[in-house]
């Protein structure tokens, strides 16, 4: 039997050759073929013919490459072979030695209707051992031929698949084991924060700062301390994992206004805007900020989780969908280190860092951006707030990350500056009802579901606008984002589902939505949660059940607005 496995693995069927009673690969006719079987692999059996075949094939290849030395040599014919074999007596004879498949098994499979060669294989396990039928499947086929009225060409052969012979999984994985499986990304502040006692957490490719425990401090205690420090004084957090895009061009404004659903045509140089982006199908894809640095120059932030995805999406829009637009995109995510200073004293700290620009409320109001220097180091300062406190995201070229961090820590001492991590960041944003990718923005929510329906401009077209109007997406009865507080101020079980009824005797209940986040709010000294609830905004003030059968808990929660803390936004505008 020709060893044509590697030829046939590409889906080429072998052709039955009656003279030799074997399946042979046919010679490729088109240049699409990469492979050329020679010698025994195509049924050429004799030494001289094999030598000639190998040589001719090499010349064919050289002809394909237009190499000048090639000759046009004839390919030898398939060698004839005698077809008379041996008769056999009665009794069970083995076909597949490994799986103990006998002639009787093949006959049984035929009798029971598993006549197709694929069914015969599966029913009898013929050729399914570690040898993958190298010595058995032709005999199996011939056995089928001898007892059925099918012809060999009709029966055909089972699909050839790699590997030709079993191969080491260790080698297939190579060096990508343990920590080396995928690269680890660290932010420019990694070492600085590690020196400050940071506990890191793996999430995606990144190592995030999670929290900064003091000696013998639990994570819960650390989060409470960090959160209160931000609310009452000053904290700092690493924001470097955000995606950051530089956009330049005469059509940059048009480009962005097609992609983002807000109306920001009035955005002035030096201002920034919270923006929302939909997918083509009208569901929310991402949120972020657009800062206008110049007439045709913008700086865009993308959430960490979506940084790669949205970057690709922007590139596609610019390059494939609207190549006529004059816009140039540059990803600067790794070029800028980003540190947010957050809390009532954030402006005082900024002043202490010797800025060469006006940082007074009139000079640097909320939602503005300034390009300048702190202590001579180049920075871009963005007046944005995820925490709800007065806050500035300071971007500096990554190489200056250490310098920026030590300046901030040194001058922040005056207000007992407290570095914090993802856990506290999450507590602060939940208190404000700010959204997080993957939890609230989970790929199934409309802007209105998230309470952001007003952000959709009615004056322009944008990606996702048309399909966001589909009937079921604007219908009554959708789940909407709401806040929830524990009536008895008891801990709220994570991941609980919301219901109007108690659990029935089987422990079941109708789910009207679920909690996306449940925390203890240090500043409110209360247990609060965010969640989705059917018709949620109409139900503010109602009390609902929160069931977590996994935790064995069912408690009553009161439905509130999704913003628990400073709903008027006085603090971050201070």
């Amino acid at each position: 039997m020709p060893t044509a496995h590697i030829f046939a693995q590409m889906g080429e069927k072998l052709t039955f050759h009656a003279e030799t009673q074997s399946f042979l690969p046919s010679l490729p006719e088109q240049s699409q073929h990469y492979i050329d079987p020679v010698g025994g692999a195509r049924g050429v059996l004799y030494m001289d013919a094999c030598l000639a075949d190998g040589k001719a094939s090499a010349h064919d290849a050289m002809a394909d490459f237009n190499m000048h030395k090639h000759l046009d040599l004839p390919r030898p014919a398939v060698s004839p072979a005698p077809i008379q074999g041996f008769e056999r007596g009665k009794g069970k004879a083995f076909i597949d030695f490994q799986n103990d498949v006998t002639t009787a098994d093949i006959a049984l499979a035929q009798r029971e209707g598993y006549g197709h060669i694929e069914l015969t294989k599966r029913y009898t396990t013929l050729g399914m051992g570690t040898d993958q039928g190298k010595t058995s499947w032709t005999n199996g086929l011939l056995e089928m031929l001898s007892i059925s009225d099918m012809k060999a060409a009709e029966i055909g052969h089972t699909t050839y698949r790699p590997p030709y012979s079993p191969v080491s999984i260790g080698a297939l994985v190579g060096t990508e084991t343990g920590q080396q499986m995928t690269p680890i990304r660290r932010t420019p502040f990694h070492k600085g924060f590690a020196d400050l006692g940071c506990v890191f957490q793996t999430s995606g490719d990144w190592l995030y700062s999670r929290y900064f425990p003091q000696p013998d401090e639990t994570m819960t205690a650390a989060i409470k301390r960090e959160a209160l420090a931000v609310r009452n004084s000053l904290g700092c957090v690493d924001m470097s994992t955000l995606g950051k895009i530089d956009i330049y061009g005469a059509d940059a404004m048009l480009f962005l206004s097609r992609l983002y659903c807000n109306n920001f045509a009035t955005l002035k140089i030096g201002q920034l805007r919270y923006v929302l982006m939909l997918r083509e199908d009208g569901y929310v894809l991402d949120d972020g900020t657009i800062s206008r640095l110049g007439e045709n120059h913008f700086h865009l932030t993308i959430t960490t989780a979506n940084a790669g995805k949205v970057w690709q999406y922007l590139k596609k829009a610019a390059m494939v969908d609207w190549p006529e637009l004059d816009v140039t995109l540059t990803s600067v995510s790794d070029q800028w280190a980003s540190l947010a200073i957050t809390g009532p004293y954030a402006r005082d700290l900024l002043s202490a860092l010797k800025p060469d620009f006006d940082v007074l409320p009139a000079g640097l109001p909320f939602a503005s951006v300034r390009i300048g220097h702190l202590y001579g180091y180049p920075v871009r300062v963005f007046g944005v707030s995820f925490s709800g406190e007065l806050s500035y995201e300071i971007n500096t070229p990554s190489g200056y990350a250490d310098a920026l961090l030590s300046m901030v820590m040194e001058h922040g001492k005056a207000w007992n500056i407290t570095p914090y991590g993802l856990e506290t960041l999450d507590v602060l944003r939940i208190e404000k009802g700010h959204l997080s990718i993957g939890t609230e923005i989970d790929g199934r929510r409309t802007a209105d579901d998230l309470g952001l329906g007003k952000m959709l401009s009615r004056k322009k077209d944008f990606v996702g606008r048309a399909l966001s109007q589909r009937p079921a997406m604007i219908a009554e009865g959708r789940q909407q984002l709401i806040g929830l507080i524990s009536e008895q101020n008891e801990p709220i079980p994570h991941a609980a589902h919301l219901s109007d009824t108690e659990l029935d005797q089987n422990g079941c209940a109708e789910s009207l939505g679920f909690l996306t986040a449940a925390i203890y709010s240090p500043v409110m000294d209360h247990y609060i949660a965010l969640g989705f609830l059917k018709n949620g905004r109409q139900r503010i003030g109602d009390t609902v059940w929160a069931h977590s059968p996994i935790a064995g808990q069912s408690i009553r929660l009161k439905v509130t607005s999704s913003c628990f803390y400073d709903p008027e936004g006085v603090r971050y505008r201070a």
Binding site: G113, E118, I169, Y283, D442, A472, A495, P549
Partner: protein
């Protein structure tokens, strides 16, 4: 066990010129529908037309896993119903499908991910399924072979555990349903592709095959990887993309893993068959393809993840891999039910999630075909949900089929 007494798995009758119902596709779903039409509704004037051999599509090429751990009600409901049916089927069909509820373990790699799993687990509990969230020693006890201590790139924070999840002998599913349906008098034809679906005044009246025309009252299409092609015979366009999905097995070894385990930092799922092979699978190849052969990049990726869970696998050898065309819809969920043409219904878009739902689809579609009304469990899976914005998107990945 006198196997000589077992007749042919399916009869080979003469094809009639007319049947009440024609089922296009002799895979698990089509054959299950035939079985339940006969068993639950007494309807046997049915022809199942299979272009190749029964169970030769995705029923023959999957990782044999059954489970129902889905967040969204619609997805959970159908698969959990299937799980109940799987438990009864071997006896019902008098054919051992080798259902082994060895437990399904879905690993989470961060506290945040575990919280998402808990949302899903709570949804399942509220819907009446048995499920646990396991961490630490409880997880180690459940999967003793799992490496929780080594320097893994993505540490394991915990897992969702569904005890009724497990494995089933995939080929036997098609054979068992086919045999029982055939015994009930339903005609099953292999190597009988449908070349045309004839429609007059928005109503189906017949199908053409190389063996002749079959007149019929209704036609049910259940052809997985060929959905677009067959639907186009009726002039219909489907929100379906065709992608290549692969799975592979190691050489067989003595039992070394009881449960079915899924790794989530890059998809990789693994179980050990009754024959001793480790079966592994992962995400799709990630691009449209009808070539039915896999990209090796996916295998390398899945194996690297599998080694994170079970480092001893590096000593084993990959024996065989296979791949097939999966039809995946724009929200990653199935399209089941009636089409805008009278008498025409479809079941498609399962991607690589269809095997586990086999009996539930059969059961529900039989009810639809018998009563001309859509039963509750499959109501959400309508063909027009994409036009009206009622997607069932468990992954939240949006209209990018290769991401589901």
């Amino acid at each position: 066990m006198g196997n000589k007494r077992w007749p042919a798995i399916i009869a080979t009758p003469e094809m009639r010129s007319s049947y009440d119902t024609v089922i296009i596709g002799g895979g698990g779903h089509g054959l299950a529908t035939a079985h339940y039409l006969a068993k639950n509704h007494g309807i046997t004037d049915v022809a199942v037309l299979e272009g190749s051999w029964i169970g030769g599509g995705n029923t023959a090429r999957n990782t044999t896993i059954v489970r129902s751990d889905y967040l969204l009600n619609a997805s959970f409901g159908l698969k959990n119903f299937a799980l109940k049916l799987w438990g009864e089927l071997s006896q019902e069909l008098n054919f051992n499908l080798m259902y082994e509820p060895r437990g399904y373990v879905d690993l989470a790699h961060s506290d945040g991910e575990l919280e998402h799993f808990t949302i899903r687990a709570n949804a399942m509990r509220l819907g009446g399924a048995s499920v646990e969230i396991l961490t630490g020693q409880a997880l180690q006890d459940c999967v003793p072979e799992l490496d929780l201590n080594s320097a893994a790139r993505f540490p394991v924070a915990g897992a969702l555990f569904q005890p009724a999840g497990g494995v089933i002998r995939h080929d036997a599913v098609a054979w068992g349903f086919a045999r029982k349906a055939s015994q009930a008098g339903i005609h099953i034809f292999q190597k009988t592709p449908v070349t045309k679906i004839n429609i007059t005044k928005d109503k189906v009246n017949s199908v053409d095959t190389p063996q002749g025309r079959i007149n019929c009252r209704q036609v049910f299409i259940s052809v997985a990887g060929a959905s677009n092609q067959v639907a186009s015979l009726a002039g219909l366009d489907l929100p379906i993309h065709s992608i290549n999905v692969q799975a592979f097995v190691t050489e067989p070894v003595k039992p070394a893993l009881k449960t079915v385990v899924n790794y989530n930092a890059g998809l990789s799922y693994i179980s050990q068959t009754a024959k001793g092979e480790f079966v592994l699978g992962g995400a799709s190849d990630g691009y449209n393809s009808f070539a039915r052969r896999g990209s090796f990049a996916r295998i390398e990726d899945v194996l690297a993840r599998a080694l994170q869970m079970f480092p001893f696998l590096s000593r084993l050898r990959l024996m065989r891999h296979w791949s097939g065309t999966a039809d995946i819809s724009m929200d990653g969920n199935a399209i089941i039910g009636q089409l805008p043409i009278d008498g025409l219904s479809i079941n498609c878009g399962w991607g690589y999630a269809g095997f586990k739902a086999t009996p539930a689809v059969g059961h529900q579609m039989a009810e639809l075909l018998a009563n001309n009304a859509t039963p509750d469990l499959i109501k959400p899976f309508t063909y027009d949900r994409f036009a009206n914005g009622a997607e069932i998107d468990d992954a939240g990945a949006g209209p990018y089929p290769w991401h589901h």
